[in-house]
Symmetry: C2
């Protein structure tokens, strides 16, 4: 976590009213909650797990401060004995989770939390908030990187992300899912992500003549200048960049690239490439940006539009075509009694579970099986790992680079139809026969009890 | 600002590379940047200004810390003299802005920043990030509150917002735009917003029998219990809530309400209302939630669906139908020379400006005129106020309650067709003849110079 704020009160009020209800009715038994996504957003058939490290660090540190308790007391809703209990409350539970960077699918628990119910409940809001958003962005970024093919993709979204935390987490999640870097300097500093930047229109327009702006910029950055050429007229801008590149060459320097940020990006790339090639400047790269998303990048890849890399901003940073996912954190067991809800369209799988992944002989992902926690499936990899025991992180957390490399290696083994940008095929996810039997039994018991 | 983190590096790398370019070419003259939205997202014809307080507090505090400077040094892109300059840098500029809670329209500057160009440039990313997001959410919330008619709307979005900062700012922006409260406890604590909460499905399913859960909850909150009745079967749940309400009545207590969170929300509300009315419990309120947005609320209002209030979550918290806006922060003047860019679809209005609002005799908003800063338009209200002078906040910032009340009073005076949830009419925004003349002159001068 990049912030040191006390976030224990970053929760929904009903978590605290329920907590008082549990406390006063002495329901302090262990419970298990399961976090999963109920459906795929449009055009998606997989999710990339992200956000676990922030959640674990939050859980390890969880404790109300006295300003928080004073505030709650001032609401006149809570009893003094409950507030005293809350003041001393820490998170003492166990967490199983699918590690960051791994793929997961609809209905699969990406995390299961077992803790006294008050603890597991109060932390729900933060857990969903972080895992939902970071996985959403990692998934969107994976789509962009996949669509771009061999071209690299860089995160330019900070100005349009939903606030500060989103800006930080988009940089991290998109790097995890294969982006090459970010424009966000603070994310570079905090996460060790490569930082990337060019210049803006304002730099150009602050000079009376565009070419003077180019000359001033390459004087400051003789070894890594990317010139923005669309402030007035992109083709004319490209010709001026050629002049500057030749002046640099005469000084033994090399212009790194140019960026196009508006207009018909596909057509302009071709024109600009031609201008540089004819000037003998084949090494000058062209970067495309300006409202791009994976649909554009896939079209450009198909049409061989000659961009060398892309700056992808807004639409990746807010996951514009799917800015939310239908994630849920559901009670699946209380005091060793498996439970479920039967609400329309919102049924859940009872009991502690495990997800098993089966690959074919070439290592390609073949199918997953959702099973009960205790099951064993020969030749299959159990995906949920125990990452926290009694409130303490018990395994060394992978570095961001390690998680990124885990992602890249597994994503390469996901069949192409499932990765398709449009009309993707669904990955096979089965439920073990023991889990199915368990569901039927619990459903019957719960229905009868009402 | 609710966080004490140093956010000076929360900027795009190109702001810093340009800063070094400006520094080394001695371009340190004052510049003016204008922040505006270039187009309306679907179904929208107005924006609600929000985020100014965070921006002003950020600007007043702006300074790099030594860890930040060390990090930049380690990138080997910046010269030592520039890094020394950066270390001492503060924001010393002036800011004009349309106050929070006021309405603004396409192309109108909602903020203008005048400062030495390096300063105005480095803070761009943060300014856009906050004003864009908070105004986007305030606008979405205004639509929800308007659509709900006389029913109140409460923010339930924290779990699905894009991270921590988004969760805090959604609570604030939606309250600013007329929501009645939030489920976000930390936002309640920090901003003084009323907090609201009921109970979750997990509370119900942790008990073997639904009615026992209801009884336990009302025991803890005899004066403000809202029971969630859709965990298993909503109609049966309503009947159990009636039993509990009668038990409470026998003790001299009163059940406050029930919540429905799934299924056919319109039909279930009618059935549940009938059950309570027939039981003589007309005072028990019904709260609707579960994937609602302004389109649903407008339909329910038209059909007189008997909800008393709504919890609106995800779709408001991410502005689901418009998760970003086409906001820009453009250089409009450098060293007293007005400038603009001519990029396709991204042209900007040069020079320092003012926005004038004209109302009719009944006080209804009639039209706005974008003019040059120095102009005077008789009978019109100038909307941009000078809020910062030489880096210091120079006017008392309104409280959140004051801004909310400013919003409610102005919104009531915006003609209905412009507030329509679907197919809204556009508000008339003109440009003064002086501004038009100015634009033509500057465009001619800039084009000739290239």
């Amino acid at each position: 976590m990049y912030t040191t704020e006390n976030l224990a009160l970053l929760t929904d009020l009903y978590q605290l009213t329920m907590a008082q209800g549990y406390f006063q009715s002495q329901r302090l038994a262990p419970s298990t909650f399961s976090l999963f996504v109920r459906s795929y957003p449009p055009n998606r058939s997989y999710f990339v797990s992200a956000g676990l490290q922030d959640v674990l660090e939050f859980l390890e540190r969880f404790q109300m401060d006295s300003a928080g308790i004073d505030y709650l007391r001032s609401r006149r809703m809570f009893t003094d004995d409950f507030l005293d209990f809350l003041k001393g409350l820490k998170f003492t539970g166990d967490v199983w989770a699918i590690p960051e960077g791994r793929l997961f699918f609809k209905d699969e628990p990406v995390m299961e939390v077992t803790a006294p119910i008050v603890e597991a409940q109060i932390v729900e809001t933060f857990i969903i908030n972080q895992i939902n958003f970071q996985s959403l962005i990692a998934t969107k970024a994976a789509r962009c990187v996949h669509a771009a093919g061999e071209r690299s993709v860089v995160d330019f979204s900070l100005r349009r992300t939903h606030g500060i935390d989103a800006g930080m987490k988009v940089a991290r999640s998109s790097y995890l899912a294969g982006c090459a870097g970010t424009s966000n300097v603070r994310a570079g500093q905090h996460y060790g992500i490569p930082i990337v930047g060019t210049m803006a229109h304002s730099f150009v327009s602050s000079f009376e003549h565009e070419i003077d702006a180019f000359r001033a910029f390459v004087t400051s950055f003789p070894n890594h200048s990317t010139l923005l050429i669309d402030t007035y007229d992109t083709v004319a801008g490209a010709r001026k960049a050629v002049r500057v590149a030749k002046e640099m060459a005469a000084r033994g320097q090399q212009l790194q690239g140019v960026r196009i940020d508006s207009g018909d990006l596909a057509q302009l790339a071709a024109e600009v490439r031609k201008i540089f090639d004819e000037a003998g400047l084949k090494n000058v790269k062209i970067i495309g940006s300006g409202g791009l998303d994976e649909y554009d990048l896939a079209d450009y890849a198909n049409a061989n539009v000659p961009y060398d890399s892309y700056g992808v901003g807004t639409k990746m940073g807010v996951s514009a075509d799917a800015p939310w996912s239908d994630v849920a954190y559901k009670l699946v067991e209380y005091d060793n009694r498996p439970v479920l809800k039967l609400s329309t369209g919102k049924a859940s799988l009872p009991g502690k579970k495990q997800v098993f992944r089966i690959c074919d002989k070439q290592g390609q992902l073949e199918k997953d099986i959702i099973a009960l926690r205790g099951e064993n499936i020969a030749g299959a990899e159990p995906l949920l790992k125990k990452v926290m025991t009694e409130g303490k992180i018990t395994v060394p957390l992978p570095s961001l680079e390690e998680s990124r490399s885990d992602f890249l290696s597994e994503f390469a083994r996901l069949p192409e139809p499932i990765k398709a940008i449009r009309n993707s095929a669904h990955y096979l996810v089965e439920q073990s026969s023991k889990l199915q039997e368990h569901c039927a039994n619990v459903e019957q018991r719960v229905s009868r009890a009402q």
